[in-house]
Symmetry: C2
Subunit: 253 residues, 2 copies
Amino acid sequence: MKSKSETFCLKLVIAYDGGAYFGWQRQPNGMSVQQRIEEVLEKLCGQHVNVYGASRTDTGVHALGMVAHIEWSKISLAIPELHRALNALLPEDLRVLAIARAAQSFHARFDAVSKLYRYRILNSPIGDPFRRGASWFIPQKLNVTAMREAAAFFVGKHNFSSVAVNPGYERTTMVRHIHRCAVIKKSDEVHVEIEGDGFLYKMVRTIVGTLVEVGYKRRTSESVRELLKSRDRRLAGQTAPAHGLFLVRVRYR
Amino acid sequence: MKSKSETFCLKLVIAYDGGAYFGWQRQPNGMSVQQRIEEVLEKLCGQHVNVYGASRTDTGVHALGMVAHIEWSKISLAIPELHRALNALLPEDLRVLAIARAAQSFHARFDAVSKLYRYRILNSPIGDPFRRGASWFIPQKLNVTAMREAAAFFVGKHNFSSVAVNPGYERTTMVRHIHRCAVIKKSDEVHVEIEGDGFLYKMVRTIVGTLVEVGYKRRTSESVRELLKSRDRRLAGQTAPAHGLFLVRVRYR
Protein backbone atom coordinates (compact mmCIF):
# COMPACT_ATOMS: atom_id res chain seq x y z
CA MET A 1 0.00 0.00 0.00
CA LYS A 2 1.34 3.39 -0.98
CA SER A 3 1.51 5.96 1.79
CA LYS A 4 -0.78 8.91 1.15
CA SER A 5 1.24 12.13 0.88
CA GLU A 6 -0.07 14.28 3.72
CA THR A 7 -0.30 18.02 3.12
CA PHE A 8 -1.46 20.66 5.54
CA CYS A 9 -2.26 24.34 5.34
CA LEU A 10 0.06 26.94 6.86
CA LYS A 11 -0.84 30.57 7.50
CA LEU A 12 2.03 33.05 7.17
CA VAL A 13 2.17 36.64 8.43
CA ILE A 14 4.66 38.66 6.42
CA ALA A 15 6.24 42.12 6.62
CA TYR A 16 8.12 43.76 3.77
CA ASP A 17 9.62 47.00 2.62
CA GLY A 18 8.04 47.21 -0.81
CA GLY A 19 10.69 49.60 -2.14
CA ALA A 20 12.56 46.95 -4.10
CA TYR A 21 9.56 44.90 -5.27
CA PHE A 22 7.14 45.04 -8.17
CA GLY A 23 4.30 44.48 -5.72
CA TRP A 24 3.06 41.30 -4.12
CA GLN A 25 1.93 39.34 -7.13
CA ARG A 26 4.21 37.37 -9.43
CA GLN A 27 4.54 39.14 -12.77
CA PRO A 28 6.94 39.27 -15.71
CA ASN A 29 8.42 42.78 -15.29
CA GLY A 30 10.42 42.22 -12.13
CA MET A 31 10.75 40.58 -8.76
CA SER A 32 7.61 40.39 -6.66
CA VAL A 33 7.28 39.45 -3.00
CA GLN A 34 5.29 36.35 -3.88
CA GLN A 35 7.97 35.13 -6.30
CA ARG A 36 10.74 35.72 -3.77
CA ILE A 37 8.99 33.64 -1.13
CA GLU A 38 8.08 30.90 -3.60
CA GLU A 39 11.71 30.66 -4.73
CA VAL A 40 12.93 30.20 -1.16
CA LEU A 41 10.21 27.63 -0.40
CA GLU A 42 11.24 25.70 -3.51
CA LYS A 43 14.83 25.64 -2.29
CA LEU A 44 13.70 24.31 1.07
CA CYS A 45 11.38 21.59 -0.15
CA GLY A 46 12.65 20.74 -3.63
CA GLN A 47 9.43 21.51 -5.48
CA HIS A 48 7.31 24.49 -6.36
CA VAL A 49 5.01 25.74 -3.59
CA ASN A 50 2.29 28.28 -4.37
CA VAL A 51 1.98 31.19 -1.95
CA TYR A 52 -1.51 32.71 -1.88
CA GLY A 53 -1.64 36.26 -0.52
CA ALA A 54 -4.61 38.04 1.02
CA SER A 55 -4.05 41.13 -1.10
CA ARG A 56 -2.19 42.23 -4.21
CA THR A 57 -0.18 45.17 -2.99
CA ASP A 58 1.12 47.41 -5.80
CA THR A 59 4.71 48.14 -6.73
CA GLY A 60 6.41 49.96 -3.85
CA VAL A 61 3.65 49.40 -1.29
CA HIS A 62 4.76 48.02 2.09
CA ALA A 63 3.28 45.47 4.45
CA LEU A 64 3.41 45.13 8.21
CA GLY A 65 1.03 42.19 8.32
CA MET A 66 0.34 40.58 4.93
CA VAL A 67 -1.27 37.18 5.35
CA ALA A 68 -0.65 34.30 2.97
CA HIS A 69 -1.19 30.57 2.99
CA ILE A 70 0.64 27.59 1.53
CA GLU A 71 -0.02 23.91 1.17
CA TRP A 72 2.90 22.23 2.91
CA SER A 73 3.84 18.61 2.64
CA LYS A 74 7.46 18.48 3.80
CA ILE A 75 7.29 17.04 7.25
CA SER A 76 11.04 16.78 7.76
CA LEU A 77 11.00 20.47 8.75
CA ALA A 78 8.96 21.29 11.83
CA ILE A 79 7.09 24.60 11.64
CA PRO A 80 9.52 26.57 13.86
CA GLU A 81 12.40 25.22 11.75
CA LEU A 82 10.67 26.18 8.50
CA HIS A 83 10.16 29.65 10.00
CA ARG A 84 13.83 30.08 10.89
CA ALA A 85 15.01 28.65 7.57
CA LEU A 86 12.71 30.94 5.58
CA ASN A 87 13.95 34.07 7.35
CA ALA A 88 17.53 32.89 7.02
CA LEU A 89 17.18 32.61 3.23
CA LEU A 90 14.92 35.59 2.56
CA PRO A 91 16.45 39.05 2.11
CA GLU A 92 16.35 41.48 5.04
CA ASP A 93 13.62 43.61 3.48
CA LEU A 94 11.22 40.67 3.68
CA ARG A 95 10.45 38.88 6.96
CA VAL A 96 8.07 36.12 7.90
CA LEU A 97 6.73 37.25 11.27
CA ALA A 98 4.74 34.13 12.09
CA ILE A 99 3.79 30.73 10.73
CA ALA A 100 1.02 28.60 12.14
CA ARG A 101 -1.13 25.70 11.04
CA ALA A 102 -4.51 26.73 9.72
CA ALA A 103 -7.68 24.82 8.94
CA GLN A 104 -7.32 22.72 5.80
CA SER A 105 -9.92 24.91 4.09
CA PHE A 106 -8.24 28.23 4.99
CA HIS A 107 -7.68 30.63 2.10
CA ALA A 108 -5.77 33.87 2.80
CA ARG A 109 -7.65 35.84 0.14
CA PHE A 110 -11.16 34.43 0.05
CA ASP A 111 -11.57 34.10 3.83
CA ALA A 112 -10.42 37.65 4.64
CA VAL A 113 -13.25 39.69 6.08
CA SER A 114 -11.42 43.01 6.30
CA LYS A 115 -8.09 44.68 5.63
CA LEU A 116 -6.55 47.63 7.39
CA TYR A 117 -4.29 50.00 5.47
CA ARG A 118 -2.30 52.87 6.93
CA TYR A 119 -1.02 55.74 4.83
CA ARG A 120 1.80 57.80 6.42
CA ILE A 121 2.29 61.44 5.50
CA LEU A 122 5.32 63.26 6.90
CA ASN A 123 3.93 66.75 7.36
CA SER A 124 6.90 68.81 8.50
CA PRO A 125 8.70 71.71 6.81
CA ILE A 126 11.87 69.68 6.26
CA GLY A 127 11.99 66.01 5.26
CA ASP A 128 13.54 63.21 7.26
CA PRO A 129 16.32 61.07 5.76
CA PHE A 130 15.16 58.10 7.81
CA ARG A 131 11.50 58.15 6.84
CA ARG A 132 11.87 59.04 3.18
CA GLY A 133 11.12 55.50 1.97
CA ALA A 134 8.19 54.98 4.31
CA SER A 135 6.09 58.15 4.10
CA TRP A 136 4.87 60.81 1.69
CA PHE A 137 6.69 64.02 2.48
CA ILE A 138 4.36 67.04 2.33
CA PRO A 139 5.96 70.23 3.64
CA GLN A 140 2.83 72.42 3.47
CA LYS A 141 0.80 72.28 6.68
CA LEU A 142 -2.30 70.10 6.23
CA ASN A 143 -5.65 70.98 7.76
CA VAL A 144 -6.30 67.76 9.64
CA THR A 145 -9.75 68.77 10.87
CA ALA A 146 -10.98 69.31 7.32
CA MET A 147 -9.41 66.01 6.23
CA ARG A 148 -11.20 64.23 9.08
CA GLU A 149 -14.57 65.66 8.02
CA ALA A 150 -13.94 64.58 4.45
CA ALA A 151 -12.79 61.10 5.49
CA ALA A 152 -16.16 60.44 7.17
CA PHE A 153 -17.89 60.50 3.76
CA PHE A 154 -15.95 57.42 2.64
CA VAL A 155 -17.27 55.29 5.50
CA GLY A 156 -20.11 52.96 4.59
CA LYS A 157 -21.16 50.91 1.61
CA HIS A 158 -20.54 52.90 -1.57
CA ASN A 159 -19.75 52.54 -5.22
CA PHE A 160 -16.11 53.68 -5.21
CA SER A 161 -15.67 54.14 -8.99
CA SER A 162 -14.60 57.76 -8.54
CA VAL A 163 -11.63 56.87 -6.31
CA ALA A 164 -10.34 53.77 -8.07
CA VAL A 165 -8.85 52.62 -11.31
CA ASN A 166 -10.56 49.75 -13.10
CA PRO A 167 -7.74 47.75 -14.61
CA GLY A 168 -10.05 45.25 -16.27
CA TYR A 169 -9.58 42.37 -13.87
CA GLU A 170 -11.82 43.79 -11.12
CA ARG A 171 -15.06 42.00 -10.51
CA THR A 172 -17.95 43.94 -12.02
CA THR A 173 -19.12 45.50 -8.78
CA MET A 174 -17.35 48.66 -7.67
CA VAL A 175 -19.17 48.58 -4.35
CA ARG A 176 -17.12 48.14 -1.21
CA HIS A 177 -17.85 48.50 2.48
CA ILE A 178 -15.48 50.81 4.35
CA HIS A 179 -15.80 50.32 8.11
CA ARG A 180 -13.44 53.07 9.19
CA CYS A 181 -11.57 55.96 7.61
CA ALA A 182 -9.63 57.89 10.24
CA VAL A 183 -7.21 60.80 9.94
CA ILE A 184 -4.78 60.71 12.84
CA LYS A 185 -2.22 63.35 13.81
CA LYS A 186 0.87 61.64 15.24
CA SER A 187 3.60 64.16 16.14
CA ASP A 188 4.85 65.39 12.75
CA GLU A 189 2.97 62.75 10.77
CA VAL A 190 -0.60 62.52 9.54
CA HIS A 191 -1.88 58.98 9.16
CA VAL A 192 -4.89 57.91 7.18
CA GLU A 193 -6.19 54.54 8.37
CA ILE A 194 -8.77 52.77 6.23
CA GLU A 195 -10.38 49.47 7.08
CA GLY A 196 -12.84 47.76 4.80
CA ASP A 197 -14.06 44.48 3.38
CA GLY A 198 -12.13 45.02 0.16
CA PHE A 199 -10.44 47.65 -1.94
CA LEU A 200 -10.46 48.47 -5.63
CA TYR A 201 -7.27 49.05 -7.59
CA LYS A 202 -5.46 52.15 -6.24
CA MET A 203 -8.47 53.01 -4.10
CA VAL A 204 -6.64 53.74 -0.84
CA ARG A 205 -4.06 55.93 -2.57
CA THR A 206 -6.73 57.85 -4.48
CA ILE A 207 -8.68 58.44 -1.27
CA VAL A 208 -5.49 59.72 0.37
CA GLY A 209 -4.66 61.95 -2.63
CA THR A 210 -8.17 63.40 -2.41
CA LEU A 211 -7.96 63.93 1.36
CA VAL A 212 -4.65 65.75 0.89
CA GLU A 213 -6.36 68.19 -1.49
CA VAL A 214 -8.86 68.82 1.30
CA GLY A 215 -5.94 69.28 3.69
CA TYR A 216 -4.49 71.89 1.32
CA LYS A 217 -7.90 73.64 1.22
CA ARG A 218 -7.89 73.02 -2.52
CA ARG A 219 -11.29 71.35 -2.19
CA THR A 220 -13.90 71.31 0.57
CA SER A 221 -14.73 68.36 2.79
CA GLU A 222 -18.26 68.51 1.38
CA SER A 223 -16.96 68.04 -2.15
CA VAL A 224 -16.09 64.45 -1.29
CA ARG A 225 -19.77 63.60 -0.95
CA GLU A 226 -20.35 64.87 -4.51
CA LEU A 227 -17.24 63.07 -5.73
CA LEU A 228 -18.56 59.70 -4.55
CA LYS A 229 -21.91 60.33 -6.23
CA SER A 230 -20.28 61.33 -9.51
CA ARG A 231 -18.52 57.96 -10.05
CA ASP A 232 -16.05 59.96 -12.12
CA ARG A 233 -12.37 59.28 -11.38
CA ARG A 234 -11.33 62.52 -13.08
CA LEU A 235 -12.90 64.50 -10.23
CA ALA A 236 -10.74 62.85 -7.54
CA GLY A 237 -7.29 63.88 -6.34
CA GLN A 238 -3.97 62.44 -7.47
CA THR A 239 -2.98 58.89 -6.61
CA ALA A 240 -0.76 59.25 -3.52
CA PRO A 241 2.71 57.71 -3.98
CA ALA A 242 3.11 54.03 -3.16
CA HIS A 243 5.91 54.41 -0.62
CA GLY A 244 3.59 55.88 2.06
CA LEU A 245 1.19 52.94 2.06
CA PHE A 246 1.24 49.97 4.44
CA LEU A 247 -0.99 46.92 4.59
CA VAL A 248 -1.24 46.70 8.38
CA ARG A 249 -3.51 43.77 9.12
CA VAL A 250 -5.90 41.28 7.58
CA ARG A 251 -8.86 40.06 9.62
CA TYR A 252 -10.51 36.64 9.40
CA ARG A 253 -13.66 35.27 10.93
CA MET B 1 37.97 102.62 -2.97
CA LYS B 2 37.20 98.90 -3.30
CA SER B 3 34.28 97.65 -1.24
CA LYS B 4 35.36 95.18 1.37
CA SER B 5 33.74 91.77 0.78
CA GLU B 6 31.73 91.07 3.90
CA THR B 7 31.61 87.48 5.07
CA PHE B 8 29.82 86.02 8.04
CA CYS B 9 29.74 82.72 9.81
CA LEU B 10 26.75 80.39 9.53
CA LYS B 11 26.09 77.40 11.77
CA LEU B 12 24.30 74.47 10.12
CA VAL B 13 22.56 71.54 11.80
CA ILE B 14 22.44 68.55 9.47
CA ALA B 15 20.77 65.13 9.43
CA TYR B 16 21.73 62.32 7.09
CA ASP B 17 21.23 58.68 6.37
CA GLY B 18 24.86 57.63 6.09
CA GLY B 19 24.05 54.49 4.10
CA ALA B 20 25.06 55.96 0.74
CA TYR B 21 28.06 58.01 1.93
CA PHE B 22 31.73 57.37 2.53
CA GLY B 23 31.43 59.21 5.84
CA TRP B 24 31.40 62.90 6.55
CA GLN B 25 34.84 63.93 5.37
CA ARG B 26 35.78 64.57 1.75
CA GLN B 27 37.99 61.78 0.42
CA PRO B 28 38.99 60.23 -2.87
CA ASN B 29 37.19 56.86 -2.70
CA GLY B 30 33.63 58.06 -2.97
CA MET B 31 31.01 60.64 -2.15
CA SER B 32 31.09 62.09 1.34
CA VAL B 33 28.47 64.23 3.06
CA GLN B 34 30.87 67.17 3.21
CA GLN B 35 31.54 67.01 -0.52
CA ARG B 36 27.84 66.78 -1.36
CA ILE B 37 27.05 69.92 0.64
CA GLU B 38 30.05 71.81 -0.72
CA GLU B 39 28.98 71.00 -4.28
CA VAL B 40 25.50 72.39 -3.70
CA LEU B 41 26.85 75.51 -1.98
CA GLU B 42 29.16 76.07 -4.94
CA LYS B 43 26.18 75.89 -7.30
CA LEU B 44 24.34 78.44 -5.20
CA CYS B 45 27.13 80.98 -4.79
CA GLY B 46 29.39 80.38 -7.78
CA GLN B 47 32.54 79.63 -5.81
CA HIS B 48 33.89 76.95 -3.53
CA VAL B 49 32.70 77.12 0.08
CA ASN B 50 34.38 75.01 2.75
CA VAL B 51 32.07 73.18 5.11
CA TYR B 52 33.68 72.43 8.50
CA GLY B 53 32.00 69.62 10.43
CA ALA B 54 32.09 69.01 14.17
CA SER B 55 32.92 65.37 13.71
CA ARG B 56 34.22 62.98 11.07
CA THR B 57 31.59 60.29 11.01
CA ASP B 58 32.74 57.05 9.35
CA THR B 59 31.37 55.40 6.24
CA GLY B 60 27.76 54.39 6.83
CA VAL B 61 27.33 56.23 10.13
CA HIS B 62 24.21 58.42 10.41
CA ALA B 63 23.58 61.85 11.90
CA LEU B 64 20.51 63.38 13.50
CA GLY B 65 22.28 66.57 14.51
CA MET B 66 25.70 67.03 12.90
CA VAL B 67 26.89 70.64 13.29
CA ALA B 68 28.97 72.42 10.67
CA HIS B 69 29.95 75.97 9.87
CA ILE B 70 30.65 77.91 6.70
CA GLU B 71 31.97 81.34 5.85
CA TRP B 72 29.23 82.91 3.76
CA SER B 73 29.56 86.02 1.65
CA LYS B 74 26.67 85.87 -0.78
CA ILE B 75 24.23 88.40 0.61
CA SER B 76 21.74 88.12 -2.29
CA LEU B 77 20.31 85.03 -0.57
CA ALA B 78 18.80 85.65 2.85
CA ILE B 79 19.40 82.86 5.37
CA PRO B 80 15.89 81.33 5.11
CA GLU B 81 16.24 81.37 1.33
CA LEU B 82 19.64 79.72 1.49
CA HIS B 83 18.10 77.10 3.76
CA ARG B 84 15.27 76.32 1.37
CA ALA B 85 17.55 76.33 -1.67
CA LEU B 86 20.02 73.96 -0.02
CA ASN B 87 17.33 71.43 0.87
CA ALA B 88 15.83 71.76 -2.59
CA LEU B 89 19.15 70.84 -4.23
CA LEU B 90 20.42 68.28 -1.73
CA PRO B 91 19.30 64.65 -2.03
CA GLU B 92 16.54 63.40 0.27
CA ASP B 93 18.94 61.39 2.43
CA LEU B 94 20.65 64.61 3.51
CA ARG B 95 18.74 67.48 5.13
CA VAL B 96 19.81 70.78 6.60
CA LEU B 97 17.61 71.08 9.68
CA ALA B 98 18.62 74.62 10.66
CA ILE B 99 20.87 77.48 9.63
CA ALA B 100 21.65 80.43 11.87
CA ARG B 101 24.27 83.14 12.13
CA ALA B 102 27.03 82.36 14.55
CA ALA B 103 29.76 84.44 16.14
CA GLN B 104 32.49 85.28 13.62
CA SER B 105 34.92 83.16 15.62
CA PHE B 106 32.64 80.09 15.80
CA HIS B 107 34.26 76.81 14.75
CA ALA B 108 32.05 73.72 14.61
CA ARG B 109 34.88 71.37 15.48
CA PHE B 110 37.15 73.25 17.83
CA ASP B 111 34.37 74.87 19.87
CA ALA B 112 32.46 71.65 20.48
CA VAL B 113 32.50 70.73 24.17
CA SER B 114 30.69 67.42 23.88
CA LYS B 115 29.07 65.05 21.44
CA LEU B 116 26.27 62.60 22.02
CA TYR B 117 26.15 59.35 20.04
CA ARG B 118 23.35 56.81 20.08
CA TYR B 119 23.80 53.23 18.98
CA ARG B 120 20.59 51.35 18.15
CA ILE B 121 20.39 47.59 18.51
CA LEU B 122 17.26 45.82 17.32
CA ASN B 123 17.02 42.98 19.82
CA SER B 124 14.08 40.91 18.65
CA PRO B 125 13.92 37.32 17.34
CA ILE B 126 12.97 38.47 13.82
CA GLY B 127 14.38 41.52 12.02
CA ASP B 128 12.38 44.49 10.81
CA PRO B 129 12.44 45.45 7.12
CA PHE B 130 11.95 49.11 8.07
CA ARG B 131 14.78 49.38 10.59
CA ARG B 132 17.39 47.27 8.82
CA GLY B 133 19.43 50.30 7.69
CA ALA B 134 19.24 52.08 11.03
CA SER B 135 20.02 49.46 13.66
CA TRP B 136 22.17 46.44 14.36
CA PHE B 137 19.93 43.39 14.34
CA ILE B 138 20.81 40.98 17.15
CA PRO B 139 18.28 38.16 17.55
CA GLN B 140 19.79 36.64 20.73
CA LYS B 141 18.33 38.19 23.87
CA LEU B 142 20.82 40.63 25.45
CA ASN B 143 21.28 40.92 29.19
CA VAL B 144 20.68 44.65 29.57
CA THR B 145 21.43 44.75 33.28
CA ALA B 146 24.90 43.31 32.74
CA MET B 147 25.50 45.72 29.86
CA ARG B 148 24.51 48.64 32.09
CA GLU B 149 26.98 47.57 34.79
CA ALA B 150 29.74 47.29 32.19
CA ALA B 151 28.88 50.65 30.62
CA ALA B 152 29.50 52.42 33.91
CA PHE B 153 33.22 51.55 33.70
CA PHE B 154 33.60 53.67 30.57
CA VAL B 155 32.40 56.83 32.31
CA GLY B 156 35.13 59.23 33.40
CA LYS B 157 38.52 60.31 32.14
CA HIS B 158 40.39 57.31 30.76
CA ASN B 159 42.95 56.28 28.22
CA PHE B 160 40.72 54.57 25.66
CA SER B 161 43.47 52.81 23.64
CA SER B 162 41.86 49.42 24.20
CA VAL B 163 38.57 50.42 22.56
CA ALA B 164 39.84 52.48 19.63
CA VAL B 165 41.83 52.22 16.47
CA ASN B 166 44.72 54.58 16.04
CA PRO B 167 44.71 55.41 12.36
CA GLY B 168 47.81 57.58 12.60
CA TYR B 169 46.20 60.98 12.43
CA GLU B 170 44.94 61.03 16.01
CA ARG B 171 46.54 63.47 18.35
CA THR B 172 49.01 61.71 20.58
CA THR B 173 46.77 61.52 23.63
CA MET B 174 44.33 58.62 23.78
CA VAL B 175 42.65 60.14 26.85
CA ARG B 176 39.04 61.21 26.57
CA HIS B 177 36.40 62.23 29.08
CA ILE B 178 33.14 60.28 28.82
CA HIS B 179 30.35 62.01 30.73
CA ARG B 180 27.68 59.40 30.26
CA CYS B 181 27.39 55.86 28.94
CA ALA B 182 23.83 54.60 29.27
CA VAL B 183 22.21 51.37 28.14
CA ILE B 184 18.52 51.95 27.54
CA LYS B 185 15.83 49.37 26.80
CA LYS B 186 13.25 50.85 24.43
CA SER B 187 10.55 48.35 23.48
CA ASP B 188 12.37 45.86 21.22
CA GLU B 189 15.52 47.98 20.93
CA VAL B 190 18.55 48.42 23.16
CA HIS B 191 20.19 51.83 22.84
CA VAL B 192 23.68 52.70 23.96
CA GLU B 193 24.04 56.46 24.48
CA ILE B 194 27.52 57.85 24.94
CA GLU B 195 28.33 61.49 25.57
CA GLY B 196 31.85 62.78 25.89
CA ASP B 197 34.26 65.54 25.08
CA GLY B 198 35.70 63.64 22.16
CA PHE B 199 36.00 60.19 20.65
CA LEU B 200 38.84 58.23 19.15
CA TYR B 201 38.55 56.46 15.81
CA LYS B 202 35.88 53.70 16.01
CA MET B 203 35.69 54.17 19.79
CA VAL B 204 31.89 54.23 20.12
CA ARG B 205 31.46 51.17 17.93
CA THR B 206 34.16 49.24 19.80
CA ILE B 207 32.54 50.12 23.13
CA VAL B 208 29.21 48.87 21.76
CA GLY B 209 30.77 45.69 20.38
CA THR B 210 32.29 45.06 23.81
CA LEU B 211 29.02 45.77 25.64
CA VAL B 212 27.23 43.33 23.33
CA GLU B 213 29.68 40.59 24.38
CA VAL B 214 28.71 41.38 27.96
CA GLY B 215 25.05 41.23 26.90
CA TYR B 216 25.69 37.76 25.45
CA LYS B 217 27.36 36.73 28.73
CA ARG B 218 30.50 36.02 26.71
CA ARG B 219 32.42 38.30 29.08
CA THR B 220 31.67 39.75 32.51
CA SER B 221 30.86 43.36 33.29
CA GLU B 222 33.93 43.41 35.51
CA SER B 223 36.16 42.44 32.59
CA VAL B 224 35.61 45.90 31.10
CA ARG B 225 37.54 47.47 33.98
CA GLU B 226 40.50 45.21 33.14
CA LEU B 227 40.09 45.91 29.44
CA LEU B 228 40.47 49.66 29.96
CA LYS B 229 43.58 49.13 32.09
CA SER B 230 45.15 46.83 29.50
CA ARG B 231 45.21 49.45 26.69
CA ASP B 232 45.15 46.44 24.36
CA ARG B 233 42.63 46.65 21.52
CA ARG B 234 42.86 42.90 20.94
CA LEU B 235 41.05 42.32 24.24
CA ALA B 236 37.96 44.33 23.25
CA GLY B 237 34.89 43.15 21.35
CA GLN B 238 34.22 43.49 17.66
CA THR B 239 33.61 46.89 16.09
CA ALA B 240 29.81 47.18 15.90
CA PRO B 241 28.52 47.82 12.36
CA ALA B 242 28.30 51.43 11.20
CA HIS B 243 24.62 51.40 10.29
CA GLY B 244 23.47 51.33 13.93
CA LEU B 245 25.35 54.51 14.92
CA PHE B 246 23.90 58.04 15.05
CA LEU B 247 25.59 61.32 15.91
CA VAL B 248 22.69 62.81 17.87
CA ARG B 249 23.89 66.20 19.10
CA VAL B 250 26.92 68.43 19.46
CA ARG B 251 27.10 70.77 22.45
CA TYR B 252 28.82 74.17 22.54
CA ARG B 253 29.54 76.52 25.42
